[in-house]
Amino acid sequence: MSKIRVENLTKIFGKHPKKILQNVEKGMTREEIFKMTGQTVGISKVNFSVNEGETFVIMGLSGSGKSTLIRCLNLLNKPTAGKIFVDDENIIDYDKKELREFRRNKIAMVFQHFGLFSHKTVIENVEFGLEVKGLSKEERYDISKETLQAVGLKGWENFRISELSGGMKQRVGLARALANDPEIILMDEPFSALDPLIRRDMHSELLDLQSKMKKTIVFITHDVNEAFKLGDRVAVLKDGEIVQIDTPEEIIENPANDYIKNFVRDIDRSRILKAENVMKKAAIKFGKALQPKIAITLLEEADVDYGFIIQRETSKLEGIITIDDLALAVKQKKTIEELMHSDYKAVHKDVYIKEIIEIALDTKYPIAVLNDNEEFIGRIHRGTLLKALI
């Protein structure tokens, strides 16, 4: 079920946004509108939906409108047109009070430059959302203390913000958002101000937390690697419009256009692509009872050198056999079972290519890809690996 659903969302900055809206509808580009009216189209007719418990990453270069977009989701920016449904309620129709309740209970935000209150201590910062809600001092202290512990800042409660490192600051930012126990967390380039090493730590920490919390996260970034690492699905934003929404693997495999192709070129594909993404589904499978002669015909017809021996009932892989082995079997009148190799390598479909490369070095056979039930679903050759990485 989708937690957030955005329909035709448009945000125009300037004095007369409604007028400009007509131009957007007529299909004028952002640049043309800016030249003509001096007003900026932040985002233009954006559609997407975010599933419950999903990490949805919106990726774009600076000026692409990603910050504008995320600020529309909690109405820090008032959209010019369009609808935003959260749990099937259009939040744009909220009055002031409803909006406050929505912000207090359902949604929280983490900011690029942390947005921490330098006049408050660490724990006072974390307490802020609860304080605004009107919780008692004790309640909010207890909750905040627990939350700080969860983000690894135990013992730092009474420090000043200025005494913390960048990474710690963003942990406070995260804790402040989490303390409210929101259903949705908006993260506006939360790690871009951090050192690369610290950023990596934060990534794993976030993934860790998320595996326990299962919040709906909307995450903004300009970093492709970050997007693909964290995102269950990624939306690529360009000039205020969404170019493609898909899983990271799908985007790499099937970029919607040259822009995205360019975008994903520099990324470390071996860390993104999984066995499932690069495997070839088409494979010659047969039972071990098949006559070698027939098996050879099958392989020759398909123009492949290998065949996979499958247990008919369970679809489980039993072994692998080359066309040369089969020829030998015919000559020596042996069965497939006698000559098949069981020292093949198999990987789960979610294993990253980076790991498969190492496995591939140890075997001369194609690598089998298995699903959760250990059923054979595809094969990977060394050549396929190389191609996937280019």
């Binding site: 430059h113 921490l116 402040r176």
Partner: protein
């Protein structure tokens, strides 16, 4: 020489004059109640200061000076204050402090809210700006005379004149401070569902406080600068001693009372300044 043609002449001042006179006659009650209010504060303050023994005041200044600036400064302030007493200007100093303090308090009470409003409302800011310029540059005697008409002679018009002069820095710096609170911080506050008032009280004002404290310091110094002018409309205190000295060409008295003002100004400046820096966060 090109003379400005007379046909263009129009007496704006005349309008103001009749307006002041009209106010004096028709709103006497209103201005009297303002006067009573200000006077009440002033007299209470003066009473308290007069009630505290001189050595206690010196002691407090020493302790505060020591705490916020260090031992040497504490001692220096003590000596300065003591010297004021030695020269025979203790009572005058107390009166001066009362007037300065009253003006500063009024400036803050009016200035901080006005500063906040003009930070929020661009239009108010645009209207306020030239008025603040006028308040700071208009020679004070120009509005002193109307002030006397409305409030009578003495401390009240002195406080009024001093306030007019010392209000602008509070307003300006408050506006500046509120405007320069980081956008993300404001957004953060909003994003948690804070009401505008909550954002103002919990985030914007605390964030603006260091700058506002600078404003308080400036305001106090400006109020100090006005004490001689204030004495010209019959307010007592150090300024009046200076005025007498000037009029009598009494160099000794002029020097002593002038020096007392300098000492007092130094002490007030350093104390308010260091209290201001205590508020800095980062």
């Amino acid at each position: 020489m090109f003379e400005f043609p007379q046909i263009f002449e129009f007496k704006i001042g005349k309008v103001v004059e009749s307006f002041v006179e009209w106010l004096t006659i028709n709103y006497a009650g209103f201005f009297d109640s303002i006067k009573t209010g200000i006077l009440f504060v002033l007299l209470k303050m003066q009473m308290i200061f007069e009630w505290i023994p001189w050595f206690v005041i010196i002691g407090i200044v020493f302790l505060v000076g020591w705490k916020v600036k260090g031992l040497k400064s504490g001692i220096a302030y003590t000596i300065m204050l003591f010297l004021i007493g030695v020269m025979g200007y203790w009572d005058q100093m107390i009166m001066t402090i009362s007037i300065v303090l009253a003006a500063v308090i009024i400036s803050l009470v009016l200035g901080i809210p006005l500063g906040i409003i003009s930070a929020y409302k661009k239009r108010v800011d645009i209207i306020l700006r030239p008025m603040l310029d006028a308040m700071q540059t208009m020679p004070s005697f120009v509005y002193l005379i109307p002030a006397i008409m409305l409030f009578g002679l003495g401390m009240v018009p002195a406080v009024f004149a001093t306030t007019i002069y010392s209000l602008p820095p509070v307003i300006r710096l408050t506006t500046l401070a509120i405007n320069s609170v980081s956008k993300e911080m404001k957004e953060a506050s909003q994003s948690f569902g804070a009401t505008p008032l909550q954002t103002l009280i919990k985030v914007e004002i605390p964030q603006a406080l260091p700058t506002i404290m600078t404003g308080v310091n400036q305001t106090t110094m400006m109020a100090m600068a006005m004490v001689v002018v204030a004495s010209m409309i019959g307010s007592k205190g150090l300024g009046y001693s200076v005025l007498i000295a000037i009029n009598r060409t009494d160099i000794a008295m002029g020097f002593e009372s002038g020096l007392s003002i300098v000492f007092l100004a130094i002490i007030i400046d350093r104390l308010t300044q260091s209290i201001g820096t205590k508020y800095k966060y980062d």
